[in-house]
């Protein structure tokens, strides 16, 4: 029955005809074929129109989620003139159509010889005022109107003082037939001061007179949400019990951003994406441009004084959190500058201010999508170490080396965990000297208890130190063994070695011993068996007692 209806529709579409003229009424042929019989009938119709030259290929796409499928987009023409928007999309597997969608004009007899030239029309549009400029050359087209009428028009894109418009002008009379805005949403670049007082650029969305922390430049959907100190909503979102609202997106009215946490969260997540893309050719967390959703401002700094520390002096990546398990990045706001933690003697600024913090947490997302190192015992310590390593790599990628705030070093979180009390330290871990923060710098000193998931944040110091030694060289303080590092100028080699090993080679339950072999193999793969990287990595693991 469906096939019969489809055949009648096709036949009807072909038989209907109307008077010719400057404007012509023409019925639309609507194709929405998903059932086999319909698809076959419409496929035959589309093929015949293609052979007649009425439908011409525009493009062919492949959907990565269904790689066997081929998606053809065909444009309808009448006497060589395209009919605006009249297209057919045919999804096929090995040449067999699976579905066809489209809306075509039928039985057109409209004359396609224009009275006016494209130059005439362009001159008229430019002379129309409003500082009009043509962004495209005027081209001939047939425009189907809502009334069913068809007009021979010239179409172009005009930029005026009031906006950018797609304009259609009658090719005989020069009367404007249709105009609509070409600006759906507009990317914009804003500026703002980060936590450290430095000015950064933000890639944002301009919409309805405001600016939103919704990155329009990078490939993935990268959005920063401002929870505006609504902790209940924070929990609902983390638990996936409610959806994001447009009003949740961090925003600014003049694109000169004043919320330092929003600035740094949005920028540092973007920069981390960029690092992975440029250094390792990776497209985001899952290498498929997974959404990057960031939450900030669960509490104000003052409000955070009585709030759970997880949401105040912490940042985290939660792979399964959020609506639809989208995965969330969270940055706490720290505490006011006149407070410090009794245990460490440190003040904690907004966590988003540490680029190594952001990169550390996002690297957990990379690990989740690749080796998925089990967050327990040695594999967990490797998981943590890889986040520290990539966090530091990102820091060196964007900052100049040095000991100051906003400079690159081998401390973790030093830009936001700041020593206040005499004798306290900046940061939370040191890759140069793990023992400064109570981490082992040698396998013999590893923690073997059950706390902290078997010491995932403790024993990570061992692998961190390997990374440091492999680049900078030096002597392990426990073993006394020296390492010939590749040197800071060649840090890229060690970054790539660790990336390849931890993303591609390690199994989920890897141990330090496995990590040693995998990183050495990665060095051989990338730089050959006699390369300096192989020597550096081998010596570094030996120096920390992993053989």
């Amino acid at each position: 029955m469906r096939r019969t209806i489809a055949a009648i529709a096709v036949a009807g579409a072909l038989l209907l005809s109307f008077d010719t003229g400057l404007a012509q009424q023409s019925p639309a042929v609507k194709i929405r074929a998903t059932v086999a019989n319909d698809v076959r009938a419409w496929d035959s119709y589309v093929t015949s129109r293609q052979r007649a030259g009425e439908l011409r290929p525009m493009r062919v796409d492949r959907d990565p989620s269904l790689p066997a499928r081929t998606i053809e987009r065909l444009q309808q023409y009448h006497q060589g003139v395209p009919i605006w928007g009249a297209q057919v999309v045919r999804d096929s597997t090995n040449g067999v159509a699976e579905s066809i969608f489209g809306e075509l004009s039928s039985s057109l007899t409209i004359d396609t010889a224009p009275t006016l030239s494209s130059d005439n029309v362009e001159q008229l549009l430019v002379a129309a005022g409003d500082d009009a400029k043509l962004l495209r050359r005027a081209t001939l087209a047939i425009l189907p109107l809502a009334s069913g009428e068809h007009r021979l028009v010239y179409t172009t894109v005009v930029s005026t003082d009031n906006g950018v418009y797609r304009v259609f002008v009658d090719a005989h009379t020069a009367a404007e037939v249709l105009r609509y805005s070409e600006i759906q949403t507009q990317s914009a670049v804003g500026t703002g001061r980060g936590v450290l007082g430095d000015t950064k650029k933000l890639s944002v969305l301009q919409q309805a007179g405001a600016y939103f922390a919704d990155d329009q430049h990078r490939p993935p959907d990268l959005t920063t949400y401002d929870l505006r100190a609504d902790f209940n909503r924070t929990l609902l979102l983390l638990n996936g019990l409610t959806s994001f609202l447009p009003s949740d997106v961090a925003s600014d009215v003049d694109n000169d951003w004043t919320d330092a946490s929003a600035v740094d969260a949005h920028v540092h997540v973007g920069w981390t994406y960029d690092y992975y893309f440029k250094r390792h050719g990776r497209r985001g967390l899952d290498n498929q441009d997974r959404r990057l959703v960031t939450l900030i401002n669960a509490f104000t700094q003052q409000g955070g004084l009585t709030a759970p520390s997880l949401f105040v002096i912490n940042a985290f990546w939660c792979d399964a959190c959020g609506p639809g398990n989208v995965g969330l990045m969270f940055f706490g706001n720290g505490v006011p500058s006149n407070f410090f933690m009794a245990s460490t003697g440190q003040n904690v600024a907004q966590l988003a201010g540490g680029i190594d913090v952001a990169a550390h947490e996002l690297t957990h997302g990379v690990t989740s999508s690749s080796s998925n190192l089990i967050y327990l015992n040695e594999s967990g310590a490797l998981n943590e170490a890889f986040s520290d390593i990539m966090g530091t790599a990102v820091e060196f990628y964007y900052q100049t080396p040095g000991p100051g705030r906003g400079q690159a070093d081998y401390l973790c979180g030093e830009d936001v965990f700041r020593a206040v009390r005499a004798g306290s330290l900046n940061g939370i871990r040191s890759m140069d000297n793990p023992r400064l923060f109570g981490q082992p710098d040698h396998y013999n000193l590893r923690y073997t208890g059950t706390a902290d998931g078997g010491g995932v944040h403790i024993n990570s110091g061992i692998a961190n130190h390997v990374y440091y030694l492999a680049i900078e060289g030096g002597t392990n303080r426990t073993s006394g063994l020296s390492v010939q590092g590749v040197g800071p100028a060649n840090r890229e080699q060690i970054e790539k070695v660790f990336y390849r090993a931890f993303v591609f080679l390690l199994p989920a339950n890897a141990t330090f011993a496995t990590a040693r072999v995998a990183t050495i193999q990665a060095a051989i793969d990338l730089y050959g068996p006699t390369g300096a990287a192989v020597t550096a990595v081998t010596q570094a693991w030996t120096a920390v007692g992993v053989s």
Binding site: H217, N255, K278
Partner: protein
């Protein structure tokens, strides 16, 4: 015209009477009272010009500079006039020519993610032209050289109508991660303005008949004007140039 012919006849008769006692003088050169010239000329390019523009893009200042190469080219001139006193004449000449002005553009476009990391772009902007219509009002001194030859020197104010295509923006193609950008095309508009300048020149004619001759001409006409730059500044334009060519001469 008749009066001129009569005067000339009297002069010739007087000369014939003296011829019996003195060697025959050389025929005197004839001064034409009304003259018309049609010339094809080649105009050398006026001075090339350039522009530097700053703009705001990606929350930072960018800049581009354009260098306009004003090409020499052929032109057509028509001039004419009449004797007003002794050997002094007044004339009007009209010339029109259109120069191609191929333009090179180089610019730096701010990066969307970082301060102080501009992307360099450069390219050629084709299709730009300059069109000049000039009306030269001239005082002309006529210098008879020989019976068939005549020279003229002239000068006076020139009225120019100039249309010059100016690059006021440009488009680039870029894609993530935006570390490089490629010049796509220049966006132009046409500046149009009138300006008064001057012209000086000379002309030499050899008459083939009493009324028709051929000649060569050379003229310099020039003026300066300021065109608006896209960022609100101005561009100094030299217009006109040196013309040389030849064509037909008519006298009455």
């Amino acid at each position: 015209m008749k009066h001129a012919a009569g005067v000339l006849a009297l002069v010739m008769m007087a000369s014939a009477a003296n011829a019996q006692t003195r060697p025959a003088p050389r025929p005197r050169a004839r001064i034409n009272r009304i003259f018309v010239s049609i010339d094809g000329v080649y105009q050398t390019a006026p001075k090339d010009f350039s522009d530097s523009v700053t703009f705001q893009e990606n929350a930072e200042s960018g800049a581009f500079s354009t260098s306009y190469d004003v090409k020499s080219g052929p032109a057509f001139t028509l001039s004419g006039g009449g004797l007003v006193w002794q050997r002094l004449a007044v004339g009007v000449g009209v010339s029109r020519f259109s120069h191609a002005t191929p333009t090179t553009l180089s610019g730096s476009v701010p990066h969307p993610f970082f301060f102080s990391r501009p992307r360099s772009v450069s390219g050629d902007v084709g299709g730009l032209t300059r069109t000049e219509l000039a009306v030269h009002v001239q005082a002309r001194a006529m210098i008879p050289v020989a019976p068939r030859m005549q020279a003229m020197v002239f000068g006076g104010p020139s009225f120019f109508q100039v249309k010059q295509d100016i690059v006021n923006d440009f488009e680039i193609s870029e894609s993530y991660p935006y570390d490089t950008a490629t010049f796509s095309r220049g966006v132009t508009n046409t500046f149009s303005e009138s300006k008064v300048g001057f012209s000086v020149g000379g002309d030499f004619t050899y008459f083939l008949t009493r009324q028709v001759g051929v000649g060569g001409t050379a003229l310099y006409a020039g003026a300066t004007m300021k065109a608006p730059s896209p960022d609100g500044g101005t561009i100094d334009l030299k217009i006109g140039g040196f013309q040389a060519g030849g064509g037909l001469r008519f006298r009455f």
